[in-house]
């Protein structure tokens, strides 16, 4: 029974920890599998998530930040929760060192629809901490064997301050490439910030990506989503061509525990990725 038991985590080791932000509450954990068969079984696509499991604390559903084109490990960028709700798992994780062992269940959920994005121009819009599975998608599309499958790639990514931008080295590398248009913005810069200042919706309006043969993939805090969507509607993007990823409280991650439903859909199993057209069919209960 345990071989196919979806509730039993696989053992993994923390191979590398990267402190992403100057507030020290967001870290990227690179995990490697202790068993080769688990690694082979863990076939994922950008947009999926997994349950990080710490015995004695619990499990947390976290989006996969690495791309399957980087074999040998899986990365998760985790914010330490606890400002409002006690975050037992994320706090324990943040207190761990490289070499520590935890559990991993997944991959879970649907993914960014790669087939649908193929041959199209892809506009990726991210805000703050909600950039993790977008990073997975971007790295997947930029992978040498994959790049020609997609049209133009435009990335608009914003954070409140320069210190809160995730994956800073990668952002710098993307900015140097000519096969991806990278626009980084911060709400408010500092004395060393030489880049753009401005909120994500305003920057989207200014960049004005064309809706022709294009899909927008948008993730961010609710306030950013609220003001960014009208910009894309005005630009002419249809609801079928705007994708996002939902969050709800989750436990099982496999559509059984009944917790994360929005209408008839379980976000953990039927999502987390939905088009705005699909969300229009669901009650506003998230």
């Amino acid at each position: 029974m345990s071989n196919n038991n979806p509730y039993i985590p696989m053992p993994v080791q923390i191979a590398k920890i990267t402190n992403e932000v100057d507030t020290n509450d967001i870290k990227t954990f690179r995990l490697v599998f202790l068993n080769r068969e688990d690694e082979e079984k863990f076939q994922y696509m950008p947009g999926q998530f997994a349950e990080l499991s710490i015995y004695g604390k619990g499990e947390s559903p976290i989006g996969i930040a690495s791309s399957p084109t980087d074999p040998g490990y899986v990365e998760f960028t985790v914010q330490r929760a606890g400002a409002i709700v006690p975050g037992l798992v994320t706090a324990a994780l943040h207190n761990m060192d490289e070499g520590a062992q935890i559990g991993l269940r997944g991959p879970l959920g649907n993914s960014w629809p790669i087939d649908f994005l193929e041959k199209k121009n892809v506009v990726v819009v991210g805000g703050g901490f909600a950039f993790t599975t977008l990073r997975s998608l971007i790295n997947y599309m930029l992978y040498k064997d994959n790049r020609k499958r997609f049209g133009e790639i435009t990335v608009i990514y914003g954070a409140r301050t320069p210190g809160l931008l995730l994956y800073k080295e990668e952002l710098a590398a993307w900015e140097k490439r000519d096969d991806i248009k990278t626009i980084i913005t911060v709400d408010k810069g500092n004395e060393t910030w030489k880049g753009r200042e401005g909120f994500v919706p305003a920057v989207c309006k200014e960049v004005a990506p064309s809706p022709n043969n294009a899909v927008a993939v948008i993730c961010g805090p609710p306030i950013m989503i609220k003001f960014t969507l009208p910009v894309f509607f005005e630009l002419g993007f249809s609801k079928e061509n705007i994708l996002t990823s939902l969050e709800m409280r989750m436990k099982c991650g496999i559509g059984k525990c009944g917790r994360c439903n929005v209408g008839s859909q379980y976000v953990c199993k039927d999502g987390p990725v939905f088009s705005l057209a699909q969300l229009d069919q669901l009650p506003r209960d998230f």
Binding site: M1, N5, P6, G56, T90, G103, C257, G258, R259, D285
Partner: protein, 344 residues
């Protein structure tokens, strides 16, 4: 078909206990409950329906997943297997038997089989038990509205009907038939017993519970249409205490939590029943909670059973057993909510 005198029920219970674990109704201080029988004398078929539904036979309110020791490597954690012993679930009313088939759809859905539910289902032989047609129907019941009748054998392995001082036992599936054949305490039923049994199945259709014509697609659409009718949902939930009692007694509520327990350095990860009626059910780590209000949670419960479940699995997730109505401390009645919703 077989039979036994009801006064010899403890002999039957003892014989069944030799075949596996016996889960059967026993009388407790407050009503009847399914329990694993240690003393066959305790089995008591003199009940209307149990307080809790029999879903716990397959979905116990606590189910251990993994055991581990704090401070030991994760690789030493031990998954918990379901005990492979056969189980006999004895004395289940037809509406409750139907609830198992509805739960099967969910626990086997989308290519992911819940190993605990499915394993327990496979190991269990179900003895369904017709309602006593000579007793008045409980006012809370409305299983007729969900297409179930008082003496429906569907879904049972063995179906039992009370005939005066006797209990008739009819094998419905091969598994049930085989088990009956092995029970020496039973005697063969006669022609008149067969006739009585068939008549009871027919008469069961005339044993009327509350009835509302519920077309599942109509009610599913109706609830979708009135989702944003806050006035309606505020009114129907005005007395609700959000206590969750309705969900725990329900044979079709399956929401669960997964939590870790680490007393005395020993750890267990297990699932436990949870309820969409609780405020923190949907509380996210960010502090965001889509259902902070009681009306939102009751709306979720009603919609889940009568709308979302229809859209997702093609069946209403309620069998009209009446337990939620009987257990509600403030007399909220889901039947009346559906009735009112159809009038909006």
């Amino acid at each position: 078909m077989k039979k036994t005198a009801i006064e010899k029920i403890s002999e039957l219970a003892a014989a069944l206990m030799e075949k596996g674990s016996l889960l059967a109704p026993i009388k407790e201080t407050y009503g009847h409950h399914f329990a694993e029988i240690q003393d066959p004398q305790k089995v008591d078929l003199n009940f209307y329906n149990t307080v809790m539904s029999p879903k716990g036979a397959f979905f116990p309110h606590k189910e251990d997943f993994i055991r581990y020791q704090i401070g030991k490597p994760v690789t030493e954690a031990q998954p918990v297997e379901v005990d492979a012993k056969p189980v006999i679930l004895f004395g289940v009313r037809p509406c409750d038997v139907k609830s198992f088939a509805i739960m099967d759809i969910h626990f086997n859905a989308a290519g992911i089989v819940d190993p605990y539910w499915s394993q327990r289902r496979k190991l269990t032989t179900i003895f369904g038990y017709a309602f006593d047609l000579n007793q008045p129907v409980d006012g809370a019941d409305f299983y007729n509205s969900l297409g179930v009748y008082a003496a429906d054998p569907e879904g049972s392995d063995v179906f039992m009907v009370k005939k005066g001082d006797d209990l008739l036992l009819k094998g419905i599936t091969a598994k049930g038939e085989e088990l009956l054949g092995d029970l020496k305490v039973l005697v063969d039923a006669g022609k008149d017993d067969e006739k009585f049994y068939e008549e009871t199945l027919q008469k069961g259709k005339e044993y009327k519970t509350r009835f509302l014509c519920i077309d599942q697609d109509v009610i599913a659409k109706k609830l979708e249409d009135i989702f944003h009718n806050n006035d309606f949902w505020t009114k129907v939930s005005s007395a609700c205490l959000s206590c969750g009692a309705c969900t725990f007694v329900c044979p079709n509520c399956y929401c669960f939590d997964i939590c870790d327990d680490t007393l005395f350095g020993k750890g267990t990860r297990r699932r436990v029943w949870d309820a969409c009626m609780f405020t923190d059910f949907t509380l996210e780590a960010s502090g965001h909670n889509p259902r902070t209000q009681v009306y939102q949670r009751l709306r979720q419960k009603v919609n889940h059973k009568y709308s979302y479940h229809v859209k997702k699995y093609g069946v209403i997730s309620c069998v009209g057993c009446g337990r939620c109505t009987r257990s509600c401390p403030v007399n909220i009645d889901i039947y009346s909510i559906i009735e009112e919703a159809l009038k909006v």
